[in-house]
């Protein structure tokens, strides 16, 4: 048993942290946020060279991972991007890359994967009309017209749709589901950027008004593709949140050591100490949940579904709680616009409702536990 990152993954973390520190630190994210221009295609390409979009893509399509556990590598990397509040489409790009690698035709794989791996093409995942991962919430319909699909409807709360050149669109087709690869721009495709709570990422409402795509642009699968993508998204977002929570926690402990009131560092008061101890417990729980979910999903362990649901049930709600506590412990300085704390509070609040909220994943975990509990006695 070795339940931690290996040397190569630690090296990947260091390299990523150094790169972000030099090229896209939080100060730079803040600047681009004020300029309302969060996506930097140049940095995204350089990130891609460091493997940001390559891990889940096979080597023959210009992808590659650091170890034989690509999802764990990616989690090590995602923690660093989360720590730096990176605005980039790490989650959707990897979700789409994974979906194409697993469910794509040979033509799709050849056309898209190398370009995603190189960082030339950014992706977005159009999941549903209300952001939830429910069949009933899908508001894009797909109709067969000759050898084409026609898409009508809307997908909302789509991360980085404004920056994407390739959309993976979940669409209802009768009782079933199709997953379509739609280039952006396309005729009939439009989006409206949201004025959003999270200032360090962009989200959009994407409209499909008789968008026509060739029949061959559908992935080979239905709702099973959505389930897989949801699992990958849940794990990667959890990892980003763990990284962000790590930084928030460290900063708060540092602040409690430095800030003096009543002639003492506030960290010497038990009322503060015990809250910080509780936050460490929260943080370690988040990390353990996210890491095990990555491991279980990567290695297809028998309890992979439970592991992902556990991460979804615990990580984002706890991240939001941790940020709230951290803000409170910072006092007045944390309430200012200049301080970074509100950016993390905002990020956490939005992560809570993406890719299934805590309530959704807890319900899923109970369903799985029920199925594992024989009737009439445990």
């Amino acid at each position: 048993m070795d339940f931690g990152f290996g040397d190569e993954q630690e090296l990947l973390r260091e390299t990523t942290r150094r790169f972000l520190g030099e090229h896209q630190p939080i100060a730079a994210v803040r600047h681009s946020m004020e300029e309302r221009d969060l996506f930097d295609a140049g940095i995204w390409r350089r990130g891609a060279e460091l493997g940001w979009t390559a891990m889940l893509i096979p080597a023959e399509h210009e992808g590659g991972s650091v170890t034989d556990q690509p999802l764990v590598d990616l989690v090590a990397l995602a923690e660093e991007l989360g720590r730096a509040l990176n605005p980039g489409p790490l989650v959707p790009c990897n979700v789409v890359a994974d979906a194409i690698a697993r469910f794509g035709t040979e033509a799709q794989v050849k056309e898209h994967l190398p370009r995603i791996a190189r960082g030339d093409v950014a992706c977005a995942w159009c999941l549903s009309g209300d952001g939830t991962p429910e069949r009933g919430a899908v508001e894009v319909s797909a109709t067969r017209v000759g050898d084409h699909w026609r898409l009508d409807g809307v997908a909302r709360y789509v991360h980085a749709a404004q920056d994407a050149a390739l959309l993976l669109v979940v669409a209802a087709h009768g009782e079933g589901t199709v997953n379509l690869l739609v280039p952006r721009p396309s005729a009939g495709l439009s989006e409206r950027g949201l004025t959003g709570l999270d200032l360090t990422r962009r989200f959009a409402e994407v409209r499909f008004d008789a968008v026509v795509v060739p029949h061959g642009d559908a992935l080979d699968g239905g709702w099973d593709v959505v389930e897989r993508s949801l699992a990958v998204a849940t794990v990667l977002q959890a990892a980003e949140s763990v990284g962000a929570a790590d930084l928030v926690f460290e900063s708060t402990v540092d602040y409690a050591k430095k800030r003096v009131q009543f002639g003492r560092a506030i960290g010497s008061f038990q009322a503060i100490k015990h809250r910080l101890a509780d936050l460490l417990i929260d943080l370690e729980g988040m990390r353990a949940a996210a890491h095990y979910a990555a491991l279980a999903l990567n290695d297809s362990l028998p309890d992979a579904a439970e592991a992902v649901a556990t991460a979804g049930a615990y990580v984002e709600d706890t991240f939001a709680h941790l940020c709230g506590e951290a803000l409170q412990l910072h006092g007045g300085i944390g309430f200012t616009w200049e301080h970074d704390m509100h950016l993390f509070v905002r990020r956490a609040k939005v992560n809570q409702v993406l890719y299934g909220d805590g309530t959704w994943h807890r319900e899923r975990l109970v369903e799985l536990t029920e199925a594992a509990t024989p009737a009439g006695g445990a």
Binding site: M1, G4, V253, G285, T310, A313, H361, T369, T373, A375
Partner: protein
């Protein structure tokens, strides 16, 4: 990254079968009702039956590494842990905390005289640390050990000693040096049959007697029974307490959850099985997630230990996680039973003969004993995070 435990080779099947047969043959039929937690038999006859059982195991070579001078075959050790655990009767008699102290600080003679008999059930041990006025603030303990020739003479009182009513030896902390605070404390091996030792079983909120008060009226302890050096007792105790905390945090997590799901199927709420109630499902989902994470925290800490990267926060953190979740699960179980939860062991309306009611009451032993969770939070903050020490009134 992996959580693989190497599989036990098939060649060990014979060992497992032999052990199972052995346990089936020697396992005593106890009158004492088994309950959750670290519980102590309430009948002398049961204690004697357990001693006979543990002796038989020891004499047949079934000895856990923690009680042995040399380590056994790792696969056999795992099988031993599994099968002894599944047997349903205690195989560790008394509080074995002193074994860590003797291993790290004891003399060869002390180790030879005490470790094998402890493993064989010949010596049952109790821990004599807490006092009525020294609980969380253990270093303020006031039991005195005064040097008199080749002996120390002990006067004072201890409390919260498990197994003391059946113990042969006590692991005692007493103040022997003329300084206040931790530097004045010495660790001793006490023969519990010495004149002047008075053990009074203490009935707890569970209604059972799992702890004792112990009084010392000029009890003589030979100088040779000091563990480590005089004044070194706090360090000796610290080493063994850390072992206890990680042991407490090691409990399993998933199985109680299935019991809760089962309860939620059997009991009704607003005219339907509770398992269909949205609020119940959310609570179960939360508990299920935290029970699973408890296991992964265990894997995290075990990995850090193997890599030599343990922090001072790790053991307290797992103890808090386990003990608070354990309490919440018992509370949830009672809530699921509705009004029936007022019926306890012995009443025909009780669910599972009051198992959860007892677990609910006993759960406070985990949140308070072994260093209360408030002390654990201080340890995390001060030793783990490096926050300034709490100013103290005086020693």
């Amino acid at each position: 990254m992996d959580v693989n435990v190497p599989p036990i080779p098939q060649t060990y099947d014979a060992y497992r079968r032999a052990l199972r047969d052995f346990i089936a043959e020697h396992k005593p039929a106890l009158e004492w009702k088994q309950r959750t937690g670290l519980r102590v038999p309430d009948r002398a006859r049961d204690v004697e039956l357990l001693r006979t059982y543990v002796r038989a195991l020891y004499d047949a070579g079934y000895v856990l590494d923690r009680f042995s001078a040399h380590s056994g075959d790792p696969h056999e050790q795992r099988i031993l842990e599994q099968e002894l655990g599944a047997a349903g009767v205690p195989h560790v008699l008394g509080n074995p905390l002193v074994s860590g102290a003797l291993r790290h600080f004891g003399t060869d003679q002390q180790r030879a005289a005490h470790l094998p008999p402890m493993a064989r059930g010949d010596h049952i041990w109790t821990q004599l640390f807490s006092e009525p006025d020294a609980g969380s603030d253990l270093t303020s303990l006031q039991t005195r050990a005064t040097r008199d020739g080749d002996d120390y003479v002990v006067v004072g009182q201890k409390v919260w000693s498990t197994w003391a009513q059946w113990s042969d030896y006590g692991y005692l902390l007493a103040r022997s040096e003329p300084v206040e605070g931790p530097a004045g404390i010495t660790a001793f091996i006490l023969d519990m049959r010495s004149p002047g030792v008075d053990v009074r079983p203490l009935r707890e909120m569970t209604g059972t007697t799992d702890f004792n008060e112990v009084f010392f009226d000029e009890v003589r302890i030979p100088v040779a029974n000091v563990i480590g050096a005089p004044g070194e007792g706090w360090r000796v105790a610290g080493a063994s307490l850390a072992e206890e905390r990680s042991a407490v945090g090691g409990g399993g997590g998933a199985d109680p959850l299935q019991r809760l799901v089962d309860l939620a199927r059997q009991h009704r709420r607003r005219g339907q099985p509770a398992i269909r109630d949205g609020a119940v499902r959310q609570q179960l989902g939360d508990l299920a997630a935290r029970a699973r994470i408890q296991r992964h925290l265990g894997q995290t800490v075990a990995t850090r230990a193997a890599r030599g990267q343990m922090t001072a926060a790790d053991a307290p953190l797992t103890k808090i996680w386990f003990s608070e979740l354990n309490l919440e699960m018992a509370e949830a179980a009672l809530a699921l039973q509705g009004a029936r939860s007022m019926a306890v062991e012995g009443d025909e309306l009780s669910v599972d003969d009051g198992r959860w009611q007892d677990a609910f009451l006993y759960a406070r032993a985990w949140t308070i004993a072994g260093g209360s969770n408030e002390i654990m939070r201080n340890l995390i903050a001060e030793r783990g995070l490096g926050l300034p020490r709490e100013p103290r009134g005086s020693w």
